[in-house]
């Protein structure tokens, strides 16, 4: 794989990073922010394209795309493909992106059963019916990890990965090294 930028290069132009959450809990983004003050240092080398923390609504051409969450509806698939088309490196972040995580627990049931439970059989529900409108995207019958739809370059495991792990993988890429996490940063819980 081609390094994102050589060390001497990133003083000239910043590495562009996009992040998104598909069907997930945003815990990975929270963990990313757990870099705390270190994010100020990172901003010397990195600028953000589409990310939940800014108003950029679409992924622009980027060096690195960090993707949290699994695929549970048509919008998720669309966003994922847009990331793959625009990002040189795609990183699957966290349990949901890597293997479906908690959202994929619905795969043990049919989608119909899940919808009926929430909208027809729930305690204290009025006007019971399953939402169906052109404004809401169609749900996929099963929840999928992202590698089933696009090529993934790196996997950053954890529920969520720690802030240290985020920083390590980004620093490695910024320095043009093959990313590698030491054992103590490699967690799956």
């Amino acid at each position: 794989m081609t390094p994102v930028k050589k060390r001497e290069a990133y003083t000239v132009s910043k590495v562009r990073v996009a992040t998104t959450s598909l069907a997930g809990c945003f815990g990975c983004h929270m963990s990313f922010l757990d870099m705390d003050e270190r994010i100020v240092g990172l901003l010397e080398h990195v600028e953000f394209s589409r990310s939940p923390i800014n108003d950029i609504k679409h992924c622009e051409p980027c060096d690195i795309g960090l993707i949290e969450g699994a695929l549970c509806n048509a919008d998720n698939v669309h966003v994922l493909k847009e990331f793959r088309e625009n990002c040189k490196i795609v990183i699957a972040v966290g349990a949901c992106a890597i293997n479906g995580g908690v959202p994929a627990m619905r795969n043990h049931f049919t989608l119909q059963e899940c919808l009926e439970e929430a909208f027809l059989d729930e305690i204290g529900v009025d006007n019971p019916h399953i939402p169906n409108d052109v404004e809401i995207p169609l749900l996929l019958s099963k929840v999928h990890p992202i590698h089933e739809v696009v090529k993934v370059d790196y996997y950053l495991p954890g529920c969520p990965p720690s802030a240290d792990a985020f920083l390590k993988i980004l620093t490695d890429l910024l320095e043009g090294k093959e990313p590698s996490l030491p054992k103590e940063m490699l967690h799956y819980d």
């Binding site: 959450s21 069907a23 809990c25 945003f26 815990g27 990975c28 929270m30 963990s31 922010l33 757990d34 705390d36 003050e37 100020v40 600028e47 953000f48 394209s49 589409r50 939940p52 923390i53 800014n54 108003d55 950029i56 609504k57 679409h58 622009e60 549970c72 509806n73 048509a74 919008d75 669309h78 966003v79 493909k81 847009e82 995580g101 908690v102 627990m105 619905r106 049931f109 989608l111 899940c114 919808l115 439970e117 929430a118 909208f119 729930e122 305690i123 204290g124 529900v125 009025d126 006007n127 939402p131 409108d133 052109v134 404004e135 809401i136 995207p137 169609l138 749900l139 529920c159 969520p160």
Partner: protein, 489 residues
Amino acid sequence: MEQNRANLRRVAVDPVTRVEGHGKITLLLDDANHVREARFHIVEFRGFEKFIQGRPYWEVPYFVQRLCGICPVSHHLAAAKAVDQLVGVDELTPTATKLRKLLHFGQTMQSHALHFFHLSSPDLLFGFGSNLEHRNIVGVIEDYPDLALKGVRLRKYGQQVIEVISGKRVHGAATVPGGVNKGLTIAERDRLLGDINDVLAWSQDAVDLNEKIHTEHPENHGFGRLNSNYLSMVGGKGELELYHGGLRASRPDGSKIFDQFDYRGYYNIIREEVRSWSYMKFPYLTELGRDDGWYRVGPLARINSCDFISTPMAESARQRFKAFGNGGYVHDTLAYHWARMIEVLHSAEAIRDLLLDPEILGSDLVVKGEKREEGIGVIEAPRGTLFHHYKVNEDGTIKKANLIVSTTSNNQAMNESVRSVANEYLDGNEITEGLLNHLEVAIRAYDPCLSCATHALGKMPLEVELISADGETVDHIEKASSGAIKRTV
């Protein structure tokens, strides 16, 4: 256009393209092209109530927090309170209760700080219609580095409290049925106490800043304002209570609908309506009915509803808030931010008090009881009252689950605020990116957590459609990544 949208729906099955999004706004216009209806759609669905069935009850507090990485602790604790009841425990040991409270105050601080500093402050500091490229936390770090760092450190401190109690900052493990899984060491307590004075000062600064943003900008007062009902928990004396208490609901004039209601009967006072265009339901107070019974929850509801705050700095801030409302309730939607920072200050004081309480270091952590078939837990999550309700089979597996998530309770209110802002700012105007952001600012004030209810962190991708009374699409606008407005009609 209808045909085009039908195409996009079809694409959803064979996934190709559409503007991505967790949330979307639709406006309906009447013959005179005035806004008749505004809709805020929630477009994701996860099916938690179903897939939890058949799982052992003790797992619940651990995976419910995966509903939400922003306030996982709230789900963890609401579920844990329900699980306590499933194992027949009505009251924990004093140490366990205090450790859970400490965890919850850490959570409230980090979540509120994240929302204000990282997500909302750019709108309030730079202006709702300011440059899109700069209107984010990176812009705040550039222009207001001291303020941004205080925000980052406030959130950090909250996360550190969570980490000490639960072992991890996000999705940690703190509770067991009937108690907590570990005590606090003297070293851990002292480490947290070491920073508390700074944290108190930063929290006071955050309150002062928000008070100023609100009182010195009259244009903020009417923005998305709603004369709504409010629901929150209060303590036995009517005090602000985030962890455990009775339910209080009030009308806009402050008169009580009910007070000190036992949350275990929540299904007698709240019903939820399904609407076809959103995966998020619309709760209302049964007594007032479907049309009039909608209410607001969260910091604004809590600060309005409570009679006092038990910690002095936050109480003094509350009194200034109350004076701003001339002694009555404050209905300004943007006052949510001010109320939120008063709660940060209260959390900082409460954390200090808990850390200085010798009982926090106790070692009696778990109570046992006789198993029951039903458990209901409640907590005031950062975004508002949160209910978890579980029924179990004889073998201890989950038979039925019902959650009323805080953001869901604000569903109708967010729709009403969007309608109010659309009426005021979009009606008859050419729609620009800056004006569109006004709609997001209104929604953002509620700090919606669209993961629990399907979360998006702060910024909603946006599409606005204007439809005339006869159903014709008058205008259809999407925000492009550059910030430019794309019209597809």
